[in-house]
């Protein structure tokens, strides 16, 4: 299946604004992040601790709803889902 990845701010500079990624059926958010890390060492270094845990400043949305990186990385994705990756917000 194919899912869309949108990246913003520092993550856009690493991954590009938008890309499509092919994953196995029923892949999770974590699987998608691992797939991105496998194609971009810079993304891996920026987004993950050496232990493999996601860094605190990595924020995620699935289909424009925030998800909790502590609890929801095992969430299953579906064809056409959209994952947004960005650092802490700094508007206003």
């Amino acid at each position: 299946m194919w899912v869309k990845v949108l990246a913003f701010a520092g993550f856009r500079e690493i991954l590009g604004r938008e890309r499509e990624v092919e994953l196995e059926e029923a892949a999770s958010v974590r699987d998608l992040l691992d797939a991105l890390a496998s194609t971009s060492p810079r993304f891996k270094e920026t987004a993950f601790e050496p232990s493999g845990a996601l860094r605190d400043y990595v924020l995620l949305m699935v289909n424009r709803k925030r998800i909790d990186p502590e609890l929801d990385l095992a969430r299953t994705l579906a064809e056409g889902d959209e994952l947004a990756i960005f650092p802490p917000l700094a508007g206003g």
């Binding site: 949108l6 913003f8 701010a9 520092g10 993550f11 856009r12 920026t46 400043y57 949305m61 424009r64 947004a84 960005f86 650092p87 802490p88 917000l89 700094a90 508007g91 206003g92």
Partner: protein, 131 residues
Amino acid sequence: MIEITDEEISLDRMIQRARSNDAGAIVSFFGTVRDDGIEKMEVEAFRVAALEELEAIRDEAMSRFSLKAAEVAHRTGSLDVGEGIVAIVCSAAHRDEAFAGCRYIIDQLKSRAPFWKKEISGEGERWVEGV
């Protein structure tokens, strides 16, 4: 009206839209690019998600503070020192509600709306609170 724009923000036009005969108070907040030794600021948005979040924040403020109108505009793109980044205008029957509504919207915008700022100076570039 909720607006995310690459064009300069006109506070005057927002105030005109917020005026009404049953509103006795109009309060505005205008956030600008401060000179912290920077040359420019670049503002980026997750536009679709930011519009949804700003609409939700506006609706919350309208009902919590009995506002007559609430206008929100946020800039994107490349900004010079002194240019407006964000503008909020709230009208209400009385000043307390208008002040409270304006305060609520800017505080919620800062914590919930997906915008990012990059400062550009002679020494380089830096994402504010970012990676």
